[in-house]
Symmetry: C2
Subunit: 208 residues, 2 copies
């Protein structure tokens, strides 16, 4: 964070303003003119930092991955501190996730992975590969979480844990789409809480 050179600061400012616009309108509809206006730079300054518009897309996705990794690390790390039981820790982590999303002003800002997914013909192979890596990263993270749980509590229903891991990302992605379509920012966190309910029912040893 600290110790950024002037160039790094400008680059970060471009990415920040570009992300807002891309999430609101899609990638193609976000013009470079518009980005440089809010980043307070000239158009040629933009091309000093990114060789073309595709390079911007890839940088957006890669930064998104990094930021999100850190957030998840924090969330799940704290949850594990609060309980030694992997199931309880996961339930706490999912509740944290729901609260995080709920507290976002105006709802979750949207996921650029989804944006890229819905406009993939626009992007080159680099960008698509970055997108795929992001989703795979989520899968491995949540798969590890569910593996720990399943080792202690065998799941009630015969399901594939990779699919369950994908469900975490899928619920959030779907929740964002729904929240946007309905203009109701709370939907995303409600959906995460339903996923939490499923995880609880699926792994709970006995009903009380």
């Amino acid at each position: 964070m600290a110790m950024m050179t002037r160039g790094e600061e400008t680059r970060a400012r471009i990415l920040d303003t570009a992300q807002d616009a891309v999430l609101a309108k899609g990638f193609e509809a976000t013009s470079i003119d518009e980005i440089v206006a809010s980043a307070e730079i000239t158009k040629s300054g933009f091309f000093y930092h990114f060789k073309d518009k595709n390079a911007l897309a890839r940088a957006l996705i890669e930064r998104h991955i990094t930021v999100e990794e850190e957030i998840f690390d924090g969330l799940l790390g704290r949850a594990r501190e609060l309980s030694d039981d992997p199931l309880q820790a996961a339930l706490i982590g999912l509740k944290f996730l729901a609260e995080l999303i709920e507290d976002m002003p105006g709802g979750h800002p949207g996921c650029i992975v989804a944006t890229a997914a819905y406009q993939d013909r626009l992007f080159n192979a680099d960008v698509r590969a970055a997108n795929r890596r992001a989703v795979l990263g989520w899968r491995h993270r949540f798969r590890a979480m569910f593996d720990e749980i399943a080792a202690v509590y065998p799941p009630r229903d015969g399901i594939d844990l990779d699919h369950l891991a994908d469900m975490v990302s899928g619920i959030v992605e779907g929740g964002i789409v729904m929240a946007r379509a309905m203009n109701d920012p709370l939907i995303t966190s409600q959906q995460v809480m339903l996923l939490r309910s499923y995880v609880k029912l699926l792994f709970s040893p006995r009903p009380d």
Copy 2:
């Protein structure tokens, strides 16, 4: 279907080719030039049918709603024929839905509601309203289904049935995003099957 005038046929052809392109690349990235080329019409012919590009977006969404309603009616209607029990009927219906999606060549083509959701600043109020109506329609449909179940089997976990109804659409939307990002068409139907597992656990009276 039958008894279309020449104009209606042309209009339908425009919508068909436009939908393919919009789902693949997003709305803004799909040019009218490109649409008219594959619909084998001139550009001015396009503007005879749609007053501007926004009118095309609204028409796409409205047609999408109609088609999907018919599909769901068929699916859930058949499921109800197969079982008098509302829970069993829902489980059969969800299985049908998963199979329907799985059998789509190349995976679910994507949902234009999601496309519009992720590019909403591009569209006027008309289009956004149509989008909201679509999602509300799904909510009411699935809410009715879960109400019937809950009247017989009280849910195991205290949850809001509207949220659960939204989960059906959300899982499909999220599944489509994941399937596209991962380039794995099977993900969407896998996610629907997990939702089915949740519904089963949530409403099943006793574990066996």
